[in-house]
Amino acid sequence: MRVTVRLFARLRDLTGAGELVRDVASPATAASVWAALVLEHPALTEYERSMSVAVNANYSRMHAPVHEGDEVAFLPPVSGG
């Protein structure tokens, strides 16, 4: 199934793309989408413990299920303000 992956700030720089469309095996979780992404871009590994995840523009958890057409965003530590 297809999901849209959104990446921000340094995660975007590390992969060279802010938005990717990827086929992932079903059933999927945010964690399995991330694992597929890390295989493609090993440099992302350093964010394993510090990044947050959002599914369809709502903060979520790595074990959350992901469905066809969902937007999964991986967020490095924030620095607004």
């Binding site: 921000f8 700030a9 965003a73 924030v78 620095s79 607004g80």
Partner: protein
């Protein structure tokens, strides 16, 4: 025209407009309005800063700002607020964030304002890239889930300190 209460915008922030927008809904019950304006500073970590570049996950950021407003109104009943955050390239001295609170009492207005900026820094999906003398770097601060009650209480304690 009145300002929306939350905004993520590439346009320069207008603090006076947000003050007017929040204050106008008071209908006479307010005793205080406070405004916090965050500015781009020319030094950070002992180095000279040329400019900052802000990026946001806009839809989630707007939802998070709404959540911060709801949390603040719950913690300080009778308090209303607005939060605007800028994105894109910001020069030294420009405003990156404006938070306005209105309340019957000044203590609540100040505390709510401080709480809101602490929460923005904890959970708003916004990032800044610092362009400094000698390079550029994405600054990375908090990694807090919005439902993390311990972090929320930390912001509350800071607001009431």
């Amino acid at each position: 025209m009145s300002s929306p209460l939350v905004a993520i915008t590439g346009q320069p922030l207008d603090a006076a407009a947000l003050v007017a927008g929040v204050a106008s809904a008071g209908a006479g019950s307010d005793g205080a309005v406070t405004a916090f304006v965050g500015l781009v500073r020319n030094r950070n970590l002992d180095r000279r800063v040329y400019f900052l570049e802000y990026e946001a996950y806009e839809l989630l950021a707007l939802r998070v700002l709404q959540q911060i407003i709801a949390e603040t109104a719950q913690a300080w009943p009778g308090t209303r607020l607005g939060v605007h955050h800028r994105t894109g390239r910001l020069e030294i001295g420009e405003a990156s964030v404006v938070i306005v609170t209105a309340s019957p009492h000044r203590a609540d207005a100040f505390a709510a304002c401080r709480y809101a900026i602490e929460r923005v820094k904890q959970i708003a999906p916004i990032w800044k890239r610092e362009h400094f003398e000698g390079g550029e770097v994405w600054l990375e601060g908090a990694a807090v889930h919005p439902d993390d009650e311990e972090a929320r209480q930390r912001a509350h304690r800071t607001a009431c300190a």
